[in-house]
Symmetry: C2
Amino acid sequence: MVTLRVRIILDDDTLLGPGKVALLEAVAATGSISAAGRSLDMTFRRAWELIEQLNVAFHQPLVEGHSGGRAGGGAVLTPFGREVVQHYRAVEAKAQAAALPHLEALAAAIRPPTS
Amino acid sequence: MVTLRVRIILDDDTLLGPGKVALLEAVAATGSISAAGRSLDMTFRRAWELIEQLNVAFHQPLVEGHSGGRAGGGAVLTPFGREVVQHYRAVEAKAQAAALPHLEALAAAIRPPTS
């Protein structure tokens, strides 16, 4: 199956691609940047940097931290962060659908993997 | 302006993205892998490897070398190579068009670059 991988160029320095979107989704699922990073084999520092790039690129934060409480701090995907994820997933699906005839033509011309 | 960058995943090992497509177009324009590579700030070895990856991934070659003659050898984009380039450029344009409302929504939410 021939598929697309889509990156959105927000500005010269900031891309929104499958890795960052998976990280945002993992923050929503785990409630923590470190747990989200871990689930994607990413250091806390790397996960934090990627999220910070996005938080700085937009007018509003996508992820907000909250400290203290029983859980000892954590992070949430904001409603705006959720919108950005939805935009990316919609772009991915619509791009794939629009490209389908071309992807099928390419798939028919590919040499099947040996083994 | 928020734009898309599209990579086509041909198989686990082979991607077709803007770099390889620009290289194929440069081969067509220059008639030579080394000149094409040079025009994209790429070593001959790197340009040759990228083209070889594609030639191996498909049933037919995208670029064929010819040696000798007055020009002392060179390379051409085959009709099939031209088709692959056209598929990629069509995917890029259709994906961008399909994604447009989402890209516009993201553009409206981006912080303008400082400076």
